[in-house]
Amino acid sequence: MLLYKFVLRVLCCLALPFPLFAQQDSLATSDSLLIKQLEQEMLKQTETTQTLSSQTQSRSGISTNPDMSVIGDFRTAYTGIGKRKIETYLNEVEFQIVSVVDPYARAEFLFSFGKDLTTGDHEIELEVGTLTSLSLPYQLQVTLGKFKPVFGKVNTLHPHYFDFVEFPQTINNFFDAEGMFMEGISASWLVSNPFDFYQELVLEIGRAGSQPNASFVQGGNDNLLYSSHLKNFFDLSDNSTFEFGISGMTGPNAFGFISAIGGIDVTYKWKPIQFNTYHSFIWQTEAMISNVRDTINSNIQSYGFYSLMEYQIEKRLFLGSKFDYAEFPGINNQYDKVTSLLLRLQPTEFQILALELRNIQRNYASDYNQILLRFIFGIGTHGAHTY
């Protein structure tokens, strides 16, 4: 009797997956039999719950671990000025951890191991540490922690995501080589409008990050840093979009007074929707004006702008150019003019090779040329960037 039960069970187990295999074989013999089997399979599937499904078919990779990624930024540079003209170095390694905290919030941490070119050491720095709400009412979203303030387009990016090797000179002169960081609270609101186009207002308050920054300092009193941005986004067609933004920022400066920066940004993107992995075009321009109070009764005004274009020639190859004119906040009558040409090769989403030729003209020091080669490589799960 026991043997009989055992044989019966074995036969049942063997028979369980039979309909799945049988459905293919039965094609040649009988359609109606196949349809019956398929119906049985469907009936089984619809009757069973998710629990049963997860029992019968494991889905690999399911875990509560956060998304983690490491991005390397290796550079080789030839600079036509100074004694040491050739540099080759691992510029930065970024380690990012992102996860949903609970149904209400998401957290992100980004550590940077950056090369200090004077000491030659890699130093660790927390660039981003944020908690972002996911479900506030009235189309609101709040982020708190350390982050890059939403000022224009490029400042919000991390260097590996900017197509050119170096950030625009305007960002470099007005803030820092990697833009500006801030510690505080950021509130963003999707503005309701009758035309249903995307309009987002961002208001931020806090203190400047501890990294060196040409415009703002953390300050020794209760003067805080305030930042705002209004983003307007339009779909011109299925293939093209237009974005226009206005930014403003004010806060304590190194002179012990207040600085203010205003900016506008314009971006046009074209990408044929059907062959969007083969061709694309982007034109982006940002302009900024800075007003620095350096004494009790004097101000220094500075200007800067850049304009860039990039065209994707084919699936892996991009060509770009950029022009910068950038003065220095708090310094009179000094400027940089930078012209760049870019060739970018992207074998996959996880490797990018960029060659940038730069001509730098300065009215306060010698002009020079530069050849930069950057190799970005990433491992792990790195989330999509904003459009």
Binding site: A28, F197, F234, Q274, E349
Partner: protein
């Protein structure tokens, strides 16, 4: 009096339409296939928007801010799931400020729930190209999986709009009945070609292949997501000559140069399948998708 009745009728119709608009569930889907099935199940009770078009590569959709507006107002979000849309859906969902459609929210529909997945990898390594860690995500290309998708959508619509539950269930029953009827027709057409060996551009046809008895022998992409290389094309040409293979199936969003090149070398044919509803003017519904592809391959193989 006649005029009054006419005006009253018009007024009531307008009022009814307005009321209908307000009571409709707003649904956003990632793909147009999901949109079409949602419209079939939801009928007049849903207002559906699909983010991707039918001729667009679903792996690479730009997360435009305008989609965030749609998602911020949605009651239901239907996604293919697995990791097909991993490059763009999280960026949109995270910015949508809408708890209902967050993963685990009451309006979040993972259409892959209960689907039997194919090509689930036992280990994952990016040296294998764009590997999908949960299995091949192109499951909507098996019409029987359409029934599971429809069931998943019906479950959520019924939960959110219990008043119209019977409507949704009736629509689901009709949809399933039509699938059952159509699949016989499609299979009968495909039966003479069971076991036919073909080549594909990208590994996205495993569900179609399995259901309709085709055999995809190799791909023009050396690895998923890696563009065809000369070595791979030469290898495929060799295989096609050796086994006398004549058909290469491609998708609307891939350029056909490499496929045409191979086809010329083996005196074969490139067939561009519809990958989704809306892939071309002939594919307006989920049923059209299979009508189109089955007829295309049958005519090519004749």
């Amino acid at each position: 009096m006649k005029n009054f009745i006419k005006q009253l009728f018009v007024g009531l119709t307008i009022l009814f339409s307005i009321q209908q608009c307000f009571s409709q569930l707003k649904v956003v889907t990632t793909l147009p296939d999901l949109k079409n099935i949602t419209e079939v199940i939801g009928g007049a009770q849903v207002d559906v928007f699909a983010i991707a078009t039918g001729y667009q590569n679903p792996h690479f959709v730009d997360p435009k801010p305008s989609y965030i507006i749609k998602l911020s107002k949605a009651d239901v979000f239907v996604t293919v799931g697995l990791d097909l849309e991993t490059g763009w859906v999280p960026a949109l969902i995270n910015s949508a400020r809408n708890a209902k459609i967050q993963k685990g929210g009451e309006g979040y529909v993972d259409a892959s729930t209960n689907v039997s997945l194919q090509q689930v990898p036992s280990s994952v390594n990016r040296s294998e190209g764009d590997i999908h860690i949960y299995g091949n995500p192109h499951y909507w290309l098996d019409p029987l999986n359409g029934k599971i998708i429809a069931q998943n959508i019906c479950n959520t619509l019924s939960k959110l709009d219990a008043e119209h539950r019977t409507v949704f269930e009736t629509n689901l029953k009709n949809f399933n009945a039509k699938i059952d009827a159509k699949i016989q027709e499609w299979m009968q057409k495909m039966q003479p070609f069971k076991g036919t060996k073909i080549i594909a551009y990208h590994n996205e046809w495993v569900y179609f292949e399995t259901r309709f008895g085709l055999q995809i022998m190799d791909f023009l992409e050396p690895k998923p997501g890696i563009p065809p290389s000369p070595n791979q094309l030469a290898k495929v040409i060799g295989e096609m000559k050796r086994d006398n293979l004549k058909i290469i199936i491609s998708s609307p969003y891939f350029t056909t140069e490499s496929a045409e090149l191979v086809a010329r070398n083996v005196n074969g044919k490139v067939v561009t399948f519809a990958t989704s509803v809306g892939a071309n003017d002939n594919v307006k519904s989920y049923f059209d998708l299979f009508d189109y592809n089955v007829n295309l391959i049958v005519n090519a193989l004749k």
